[in-house]
């Protein structure tokens, strides 16, 4: 019972290669079917995201040489020459394969350390493969373990808690002031890519009202329509500023768009209700003196980038904690794997010993003349009992062994001792 993994990711392959071997859901299903029908794997699961394409499987024979076959399959399936993939593909077996998957689910192998999306992608890949009947006991156990690792790492470490992009850092900071966004409103100045990222974040967090202001009304209309916002005419500060709790500005401008006196007037109109300003423009869109006003909080691109850098450092500090959770679950999985192998080995040994016993009875006992049929049956039963007890005692001892390495070694030793080379293969 072996686990094999072949794949590539953002660390080993450039995007041009990654996009050529990525799988759609339909392709993943088809690849799983082909792998099983061709007898390359007994259980299969394809995990494909924008940063990785990986095939997990259980080959029919435990020989640690199934990876080349899988690599060839990947190359043929995507019609990409093997030379293109060579150097980008990695392969792992058993412990390393389990460790790799658990790290992936924990977000430790992601481009953005600790990202949350990967756990959902692993869950979805497992759901598809499970529904297709492509997984069996081994991959079921492995992927259930991976999902548990992902959940634990997110619950027990701070790997996923801190914002890692300027947009999300700004939105999270606004939450430090206002709490939940359900009754809040935001005004976004500009309609570029960064503005869109912030709008998406605000919408995700349930902002109640969204206003968009842009020099080009057409672009503002498009953005407002896409995210369910309202468009305000550019420059109507007296009308626009007293309402929102959060203002995000990302426009190309030589001079600050929001000057101190404009914001000061707006603050008077809003009875000093707190205002959070996110300046994502370069050069800055908001006059630095605005930050001196009472109940006004201003964060510019540099401030937010610094927060993101601090958060990245804080996340990196959590890696050892997350890795220890991964190792704990790798140990649990290998222990389960060894127990399952032990059961298989005991069954194999049992049938082999029964065969030996039958042969022994045929060659030796049947020649003893004075034994009746009942005596012979009794003798056979006694031999069965002694063989069973010889077999069960070490098996039970092994099952109870807490030391995983010793358990695995002993299973192998038992196999070596009692089964011939042919039988092991």
């Amino acid at each position: 019972m072996e686990i094999v993994l072949v794949g590539l990711n953002h660390r080993t392959a450039p995007v041009e290669v990654r996009e050529r071997v990525s799988f759609t859901a339909e392709q993943a299903r088809r690849a799983s079917e082909q792998l099983r029908s061709k007898g390359i794997l007994e259980e299969t699961l394809v995990l494909s995201t924008c940063n990785r394409s990986e095939v997990y499987g259980v080959p029919p024979e435990a020989s640690h040489d199934s990876a080349p076959g899988l690599s060839t399959f990947l190359s043929e399936f995507h019609s990409v020459r093997l030379e293109v993939l060579n150097g980008s593909l990695y392969h792992h077996y058993d412990r390393e394969a389990a460790r790799h998957l658990f790290r992936v689910a924990a977000g430790l192998d992601s481009m953005m350390l600790g990202e949350a999306e990967i756990l959902g992608q692993v869950r979805e890949a497992y759901r598809i493969a499970h529904e297709q009947g492509a997984t069996g006991p081994v991959l079921n156990r492995l992927f259930q373990g991976a999902l548990e690792v992902g959940k634990r790492v997110r619950a027990e470490t701070e790997l996923g808690t801190r914002p890692m992009s300027v947009a999300s850092a700004g939105v999270k900071l606004a939450e430090r002031i206002f709490g939940k966004f359900e009754e809040r409103s935001a005004l976004v100045l500009g309609a570029g890519t960064i503005s869109e990222q912030v709008i998406a974040q605000l919408r995700d967090r349930g902002i109640a009202r969204l206003f968009v202001m842009n020099r080009s009304k057409e672009r503002a209309d498009g953005l407002a329509k896409q995210y369910g916002g309202e468009v305000l005419p550019w420059g109507e500060w007296e009308r626009a500023l007293p309402v929102p709790d959060v203002i995000v500005s990302s426009v190309a401008t030589e001079e600050p768009v929001l000057r101190r006196e404009i914001v000061e007037r707006a603050m008077e109109k809003r009875s000093n209700r707190a205002l959070f300003l996110m300046d994502l423009g370069l050069p800055r869109n908001i006059d630095a003196a605005v930050g001196e006003l009472y109940n006004v909080y201003v964060y510019n691109m540099e401030d937010l980038s610094e927060i993101v850098a601090q958060n990245r450092h804080a996340r990196e500090n959590e890696i050892p904690k997350a890795d220890s959770i991964v190792e704990e679950h790798v140990g649990k999985f290998l222990s389960w794997q060894a127990s399952v192998e032990l059961v298989g080995l005991v069954n194999e040994l049992r049938s082999k010993l029964r065969e030996e016993r039958a042969q022994f009875v045929r060659s030796r006992v049947e020649s003893i003349q004075h034994l009746t049929e009942a005596d012979r049956t009794l003798l056979e039963n006694l031999m069965d009992d002694i063989l069973e007890s010889l077999l069960l005692e070490p098996a039970q001892r092994l099952r109870g062994d807490k030391d995983l390495c010793r358990k695995v070694r002993n299973v192998e030793a038992l196999r070596d001792l009692f089964l011939s080379r042919r039988e092991k293969l």
């Binding site: 619950a155 027990e156 701070e158 808690t161 801190r162 999270k172 900071l173 939450e175 430090r176 002031i177 206002f178 709490g179 009875s271 000093n272 209700r273 707190a274 930050g291 009472y294 109940n295 909080y297 964060y299 401030d303 610094e306 927060i307 601090q310 804080a314």
Partner: protein, 272 residues
């Protein structure tokens, strides 16, 4: 007092504090819920400890006749007010900052030997309500003080862009402000009703107690200042840090009233 009551209260409060602190650090919901549960358990055992202390004081008595009894009652009411606010606002991160005060008041009240002062001559439900409600008001004001200090610290961090680990875990500023206002409202209602009971009691015993006491003046001042805070914090340009600073200042007056005025200036008030 039964040592088992003392020990179990200390253990419950201390564990609750540790759990609240862990919750503040990790944000794990289960830890926070356990913190609340242990705080509730601490409140129950603390109540029985207070009950134990009132034995021999007569009917309708609360253990305020000595400083230690008043401190213990103050700690209990502080914990009770906090629990009420926590449940109402569904916010547990403040627990880690309130529990140390509760624990200190409880331990200080019970470890130190009781003084030898005799209980006051007055008893009865009116007097008991007067004292209990006023101590409840002090504890609610103390809670609003803690919340306002938290607000000012967090607000400063946010304005100065100094975002350490803790800032990401603290409650949002506006929630702290709302909690502080709720706490002050509890205090205002309690002190108004409690003081009315006090005057009623003085009126009934006008032959023995004077209507004029420095405690009355400072209580009136406290009442006015908290009403001003409550009004400013809700409606005008003072909302935010300015209102919180006023709340901190108000509590300093309460502290003055609870200590210096009681001990040295008042004729009719001792530890309440």
């Amino acid at each position: 007092m039964h040592y088992s009551l003392f020990n179990s209260t200390v253990v419950a409060y201390a564990l609750s504090f540790v759990l609240y602190l862990t919750f503040l650090k990790t944000g794990k919901a289960l830890t926070g819920r356990l913190g609340t549960l242990l705080l509730a358990a601490g409140l129950v055992t603390h109540y029985f400890a207070l009950l134990e202390r009132t034995r021999g004081l007569g009917p309708h008595a609360v253990p305020y006749h000595d400083l230690y009894g008043a401190m213990s009652l103050f700690g209990w009411l502080l914990a009770l007010t906090y629990l009420g606010l926590e449940l109402y606002h569904r916010q547990r991160t403040v627990g880690a900052l309130v529990l140390p005060f509760v624990l200190i008041f409880f331990v200080a009240a019970h470890v130190a030997p009781a003084d030898k002062l005799s209980p006051p001559g007055a008893h009865g439900p009116t007097f008991a309500f007067h004292v209990t409600l006023n101590i409840l008001a002090y504890s609610a004001f103390a809670l609003s003080f803690v919340l306002s200090v938290m607000f000012l610290i967090e607000e400063r961090f946010l304005r100065k862009h100094q975002l350490g680990d803790v800032v990401w875990r603290l409650p949002p500023l506006e929630l702290l402000e709302r909690m502080s206002r709720s706490s002050v409202l509890i205090g205002l209602v309690s002190i108004t009703v409690g003081t009315s009971f006090g005057f009623l009691w003085v009126y009934r015993l006008s032959d023995r107690y004077s209507f004029y006491d420095s405690k009355y003046a400072i209580t009136l001042l406290v009442l006015i200042l908290y009403v001003v805070y409550f009004w400013l914090a809700r409606t005008t340009a003072w909302r935010g840090a300015r209102a919180s600073k006023l709340c901190v200042f108000n509590f300093l007056l309460v502290f003055l009233s609870f200590t210096v005025v009681n001990l040295y200036l008042s004729h009719n008030h001792r530890f309440f």
